[in-house]
Point group: C2
Chain length 150, copies 2
DNA sequence: GACAAGATAATCGTGTACAATAAAACATGA
DNA sequence: TCATGTTTTATTGTACACGATTATCTTGTC
């Protein structure tokens, strides 16, 4: 006899819902800049590392070009980034921040921080949760390299 | 001076990546049944509660009809569920499981469980992570009811 | 220098996700 | 009755997310 698997007792479902709620949180926090969460973390990566190829951005975000290309085009249309073929290696498309993105960096940081403060999480608790989620992520990565399909 | 916000130190990003990895895990685990993770949790909800309206399923999964209607149509096409207008209240569409879905329930449960075992998480640890993620979710819900947009 | 092998981005197809709107059906009070 | 407001589902439009394929470019290797 197999026990029923209750949705509300599953970690995957908790993370699924938390991720959606984070999306909603950032949708509100970033609405004045007309940025989505994936667009925001793309900018975060560029603010952190400077000009990079699409491939490199993808590695920092665990996203492939099928996701990034249209997302980048929207960011370019809205004046956050510029894209250009590398002259060194013409397979590469280098992505760099515009002056607008540089100028708004600190303002956006501060605004997001002020919104995050309202969530009211203790810093030690924050780090503890993050560490345990990271551990789950690592275990999932390890097992997904194998074959679960029979 | 504003400190740079490092992506790898952010809980939202950890949860974002963990959610994607869970998706990948279930994509492999469920590939022999041609089910995606959202389709699977839809079936889980129906296995748990029995026939429900689209609205009710949405409440158990935190999804709206814009997501569920096309998803349900695919589940119906693949023979997992049947959809029919309620005779009591003709605004409602009741969703019920087919014989195939009932028959495969225990087999799918067992198969998913066997895959989950390979992740190798301690039960106490599993519950601890889940509890802390749930707490984050609750805090995000609370703050998102307010207004973060100024 | 030609050619095979590998790298890189773009494109396409499928499947979520959600906001906004529309449409239909029910409930209620005047 | 019937007008009004509410509930419920469907539809539309925008934006990810990823697998598979394609096109182009670079780098050996001979």
């Amino acid at each position: 006899m197999v026990q029923p698997i209750l949705l509300d007792e599953q970690l995957c479902f908790s993370i699924y819902k938390a991720q959606k709620q984070f999306n909603h949180f950032y949708a509100q926090a970033l609405s004045k800049y007309h940025l989505t969460y994936p667009q925001y973390i793309t900018l975060l990566s560029l603010w952190e590392h400077g000009t990079m190829s699409v491939k490199q951005v993808g590695q920092t975000l665990s996203l492939d070009s099928g996701t990034l290309t249209p997302l980048m085009k929207r960011l370019e249309k809205d004046g956050w980034i510029s894209r250009s073929r590398s002259t060194v290696d013409e397979r590469r498309v280098d992505v760099s921040l515009t002056q607008k993105a540089e100028d708004l960096r600190d303002e956006i940081f501060e605004h997001v921080q002020s919104c995050a403060t309202k969530v009211g999480m203790d810093l030690d608790e924050y780090r503890a949760v993050k560490a345990s989620v990271d551990k789950v992520h690592e275990k999932l990565m390890a097992v997904s390299d194998g074959d679960l399909r029979y």
